[in-house]
Symmetry: C2
Subunit: 162 residues, 2 copies
DNA sequence: TAAATAAAAGACAAAAATATCTTTAATTAT
DNA sequence: ATAATTAAAGATATTTTTGTCTTTTATTTA
């Protein structure tokens, strides 16, 4: 569905929204560890998301790191896709035709017509802050470690970040 | 959403279903021209789809080519995705977590939970023959040429293939 | 001011996806 | 049998994606 870039972008954004605020910034090491992504690669992706400091903000130097403002938290998740240039998934033809329209529909168009807007709406309506809240409540996960299947973390290993 | 491989695979399959039968086989040149795809690459993809001759059949030599049986036309479009190894899109976590479950849901899981099965159902229920019929009726398109926007074909240029 | 810290920027590397080209094998028609 | 045709198979090339490493810049603390 999405590229690794988009996946990491979304997971990182929601994690940053959960863990940070203007005076509790968070570093790339911690982020990539939490979302199970390669640190350097994730750093590159975050550079896309900090352009204009509209979505994710960052400051360099000691006590620096990434964070989000209350404003940014109100943005729709779609903004993340836009910043990494992958909002096309929600707009373009599923079969890769150059044009998606009623005039020249691909064989899936009519059936996909109902689903595509729902998918798009989903990304428009999901608010980053809301998703972060659910993550904070322990209801959702942005990384592979934790509970569920897979190997369990060591008991008492959760020296929570804050 | 899908890779080029999957896109070409679906478009080619539907086109073959429309244009061919056991004694009107169709060659790779014609297929790739019709679906606007690179010929050699499409040939490779068709090799995946002819494995076992369950979906697409082929014979070599003069008057050879690709074709589909009536049986094959009854298969769901999902089969194409399976044969090119991309049915994961319909099953795996949208955010790329290793596991997708209620026990360890990603932040999008609960909202995507309604859509994913609908998408999957779509591919299970779409029957190749049905889609080919609509293509044959001129209601849908598998290539970029034709009508709609873009440049029009020369009037009278449609020396129909059959 | 100097040293330490952390992201930004840039260069580089590896892997995967996409695309092309060549050779081989099967089939048909002559 | 021979030649022609067409897909299969294999090798190779290109591009894009993913990932790493190094250097630079901004910022803070000592
Ligand atoms: S033309 Fe393919 S989805 Fe609209
Ligand atoms: S866990 Fe991500 S979609 Fe189910």
């Amino acid at each position: 569905m999405f590229s690794k870039t988009a996946e990491y972008a979304i997971r990182a954004t929601i994690f940053i929204a959960q863990k940070s605020d203007p005076d509790h910034k968070i570093g790339i090491e911690e982020i990539s560890k939490a979302i199970d992504s390669p640190a350097s690669f994730t750093a590159k992706i975050l550079q896309m998301l900090t352009r204009g400091q509209e979505l994710i903000s960052s400051v360099r130097g000691p006590n620096g790191g990434f964070f989000m403002t209350a404003e940014a938290r109100k943005l729709p998740l779609l903004r993340v896709l836009e910043l990494v240039g992958e909002d096309g998934v929600l707009k373009k033809c599923v079969l890769g035709l150059k044009e998606c329209s009623e005039e020249k529909p691909c064989p899936l168009h009519h059936r996909y017509r109902k689903l595509k807007p729902e998918l798009a709406r989903m990304f428009e309506e999901m608010q980053i802050g809301q998703l972060a809240g659910e993550l904070d409540a322990g209801a959702t996960f942005v990384g592979n470690k934790g509970r569920g299947a897979g190997k369990r973390p060591m008991p008492g290993g959760s020296k929570a970040t804050r």
